[in-house]
Subunit: 338 residues, 4 copies
Amino acid sequence: MIVVLKKNISGRQLEALRKKLNAKSVDGAPVLLREGEKILLSEKDVRLADEISGWPGVERVLTEQPPYSLASRASHPSDTVVPVGKVNIGGGRFVMIAGPCAVESEEQIRRIARKVADAGADILRAGAFKPRTSPYSFQGLGAEGLRMLVEAGRDCGLPVVSEITEISCLELFRDVDMIQVGARNMQNFELLKELGRCGKPILLKRSPASTLTELLLAAEYILSGGNGKVVLCERGIRTFETECRNTFDVTAIPLLKEMSHLPVLADPSHATGRAALVRPVALSAAVSGADGLMIEVHDAPEWAESDGAQALTPTEFGALKTAVGGVLPFAVDKEAEA
Amino acid sequence: MIVVLKKNISGRQLEALRKKLNAKSVDGAPVLLREGEKILLSEKDVRLADEISGWPGVERVLTEQPPYSLASRASHPSDTVVPVGKVNIGGGRFVMIAGPCAVESEEQIRRIARKVADAGADILRAGAFKPRTSPYSFQGLGAEGLRMLVEAGRDCGLPVVSEITEISCLELFRDVDMIQVGARNMQNFELLKELGRCGKPILLKRSPASTLTELLLAAEYILSGGNGKVVLCERGIRTFETECRNTFDVTAIPLLKEMSHLPVLADPSHATGRAALVRPVALSAAVSGADGLMIEVHDAPEWAESDGAQALTPTEFGALKTAVGGVLPFAVDKEAEA
Amino acid sequence: MIVVLKKNISGRQLEALRKKLNAKSVDGAPVLLREGEKILLSEKDVRLADEISGWPGVERVLTEQPPYSLASRASHPSDTVVPVGKVNIGGGRFVMIAGPCAVESEEQIRRIARKVADAGADILRAGAFKPRTSPYSFQGLGAEGLRMLVEAGRDCGLPVVSEITEISCLELFRDVDMIQVGARNMQNFELLKELGRCGKPILLKRSPASTLTELLLAAEYILSGGNGKVVLCERGIRTFETECRNTFDVTAIPLLKEMSHLPVLADPSHATGRAALVRPVALSAAVSGADGLMIEVHDAPEWAESDGAQALTPTEFGALKTAVGGVLPFAVDKEAEA
Amino acid sequence: MIVVLKKNISGRQLEALRKKLNAKSVDGAPVLLREGEKILLSEKDVRLADEISGWPGVERVLTEQPPYSLASRASHPSDTVVPVGKVNIGGGRFVMIAGPCAVESEEQIRRIARKVADAGADILRAGAFKPRTSPYSFQGLGAEGLRMLVEAGRDCGLPVVSEITEISCLELFRDVDMIQVGARNMQNFELLKELGRCGKPILLKRSPASTLTELLLAAEYILSGGNGKVVLCERGIRTFETECRNTFDVTAIPLLKEMSHLPVLADPSHATGRAALVRPVALSAAVSGADGLMIEVHDAPEWAESDGAQALTPTEFGALKTAVGGVLPFAVDKEAEA
């Protein structure tokens, strides 16, 4: 690891820098490569890179390994497989997660669960705690909704995933098979630390404003807490283009597969916000090497309490699953990415 | 409020739409302006705008009032003044908040508190719970740090502000005069709801990826909970430019003053990440109508545990305060903005 | 078309507004819907929308038709087919454009042209005039390069496309089958006007910073000049993500097919800047409804004068063509988009 | 200059790399620092950095000097002063450029020229060739408009600046004192090369999508052509925020002053698109170390053919000039930036 120093670094800054490095280096003292130019550190100190780069007199830090050591492909060359109930995510099989944006009633989630199961979904999704931009929008059914989701999943034999928005709710997720961290909480570090201590699989969605490195550093919070069951999810980033809700970053999929060993899903429903765009974006993710899709499905979109405009009908979802099956054989192979 | 319908809206969608509007409108039934074209709703339904715009068949929703009714200037034409201890934020006086990025030790915060007080700070700032991108960076001293900050403030007679990262910590902030919600938690809605129930002044920082409307909707969560003591803070947004950490959005200041009655501060330290850029950006905020500044100050930046590169020395802070005093008389007046 | 007025519009502004509208409206006088609120204009005036929205007192302009009337799907429901030599772009067949970034020598372009033709390319591409960010980078062989390209194309029986960077070079493109407008010239309006007067097919690339509406308005410059042979090309937009050169906007493809009748290609090579990412992004474009691909191919990438890092070998290009053939049957159909 | 190689660089790539470096290095052969890791090049080769960074096997290129050698502060420590007629831009004095967006008529430009001269403008601005997003918007009076501007300037004793959009128009600018390159043409490299050969002062505006490095590389095109009279101008960048037209990047001003020796102006009118925001943004630029402002002024904004909404009245312009005079003494000094 090389610390490139500013041309105009002062003797005082350099001295302070070396003192701090001596104190923090986990692997022997730093070596000053050339007077006032570069400092060589052990790669074992890579975890300090982020911090050091902010120190006075430091131009930039060059590391051979990325700062997210546990999440990096380098630290773990083979693909990680995350088991969710009877379903495995990663390692070759393509997983379809489907369900309504939100649990609206016992009857609604039961009915839709059955339909997505029949249409070939592997995992059931639905929100009980809804983070909404406006305090006046539907906020979800909470604990009750979570219970309805779990029972609906049990009835149709599908594991379930739902979003957590607050640490104190964690115990309510006892019977939920996979816990989703929404885009807005991707950098809610206290929540990530807590999830690092719980044994459940975590579906970590990329914030619309975070780089891939930041996403992997968020995953690192969970991994370094001892929970290795992390699945990443691309769901569109915020750009200047306003024609649809977000810009789906399809390239993020092969990049994440190259940077990390964690499984990568895509959520075309939130990325686009429009049902008509879900299919092309979903197929794009499939041919780009994604390990699965998360699709919003509602049997009466017009009546959905939230995000109805982006939901597929069970029939459309079935047709999508068939199309995915058709394109998967041509999906980019790991070698091609390397 | 006008709901503009999609050209190709189906009869079924239109029927569903009218049913839902009838059910939700707080002020009488909706009126269909022209067959399959526009629906007129009472302005009292403005809180539904966000939700309705997502419904099938809806092109866009035109409102004469913004969706953040409580935070809007329209709802409250005069400037709001938020008292923090003996200090008032908003309504004419310019406030300087200063202190280190983080509490590092009893001695450090005591020493710096004294120096910023002597240099003319109105409020003392320092972090005890630090949200850091990497799990391997310094995370703060926690509860102990908070205690040290409160005592340091008391000793030098300054009210204190510190960042909260998790609801369960709320009671620890008992003696803190103002609670800061960091950029990463701006859309941590459960936290915002909780702060809406506590009586303390809240410093709400704009997320680097949020629009001004989203910032005001986040403020609306706190206001609608019954807590009217909200102060906004611009701290730079994320753009394609990488020359410095964030792009300080100076125009956000006059825009926020026009859109809302809440006080607006600026944080040049986090926006730029470089001490040399703090002064020009701080003066820009002052001449643009900001109600105050939040400046990171450290008496030994080289030794700062975090963000040393962006900290001013107490002397530089004093010089900045003098310069601010010089430019304020020329700051844009409310009329000019309107 | 509806002109929504500002709440605080002055009588003077309203008067001026009506005078100007009376003067400019191509279809009868404007009608004031409600005092100080909205003005109704004939849809025939849609071309004024952009201009009017900038006028004082105007909040926004609502049009049922977009400002790019000639490029819009509404004005021309069926897909446009653009003939380039013996090849048709649009209307169902999928086109592969391939070749090196730049013509480097008579021998190089001849050799690569033969190889891409054998690998199944439909059109040959190569730059003779290279717009480069740095004045110290290779600028291309100019007129001589153009001649070499034309001859290489003739020899292997492929029509050729090359980029124009300056009006005065237009006559040099006499024997070039299709003229490319690069991303940096997408809003070089004088050039667009000139190309509107020449009869040749134009390949118009989206600027990394332009919205889809701006791209279609740029196309409108060419179409309104009398040249209907315009092909659009998505090549990645500029965002905050720096992991690869640009963010390929895959959703732009179905959106453009919905907004316009013009054919849409994708350029994964420039979007990603990395050979390993070309295949996944290319397949994404194919399943999203693109009418073809533009791929950089070089038989010795290490020796390429420019952009070698993003070039596929002829063998890799052949494999890509096969994969594209495999996924195309599952590509989204026009109905699904509508 | 250090070329950092990819970990997985192949022997073939490394060989090719060394061959190319040997061929291109202007200062002796490259030195391979550590097998398969880094190559050391003379700083004299800095102009190759941009190109080399694109070569296969190259991770990144580290240069002690930036790629824009002529524009860099390092190459020319003292501020450059650009004379425009009798007015000097840069080197301490603050310059006010003012005038209407476009020349609309002989009478209009004459009248407004007189008013801005009386209000204290140093240079007169107005467009004759208008690059407009829509082909249906007012395109300017062309050559005739240019003549009217020149005469109006002569009559009131002010040098004039106007925008060029096409090389072939260059001769028409014979009597224009300063030629403006608009944001959309910032990377119209053929135009930049031509302007590098003409002796006139150039006002180079930053593209809303370009980094500061790209802006300085565009300036490098003009400087390397032999024309040292380049003035830079910040006019807002494109971001996700839609509350006003562009996001004015105030930090760009101190950054550009640090990176380069060229004068830096700001254009608050185009950045914001709203008259009410021009004053705060203009004052921000002044306190941030800008060398001057470019302000749109119209005496009847309601009647302006283009961009009336962003124009100040001559009276407002006069008031702004006074305010600028008040804040300038507190503007950041060169030392503070260094």
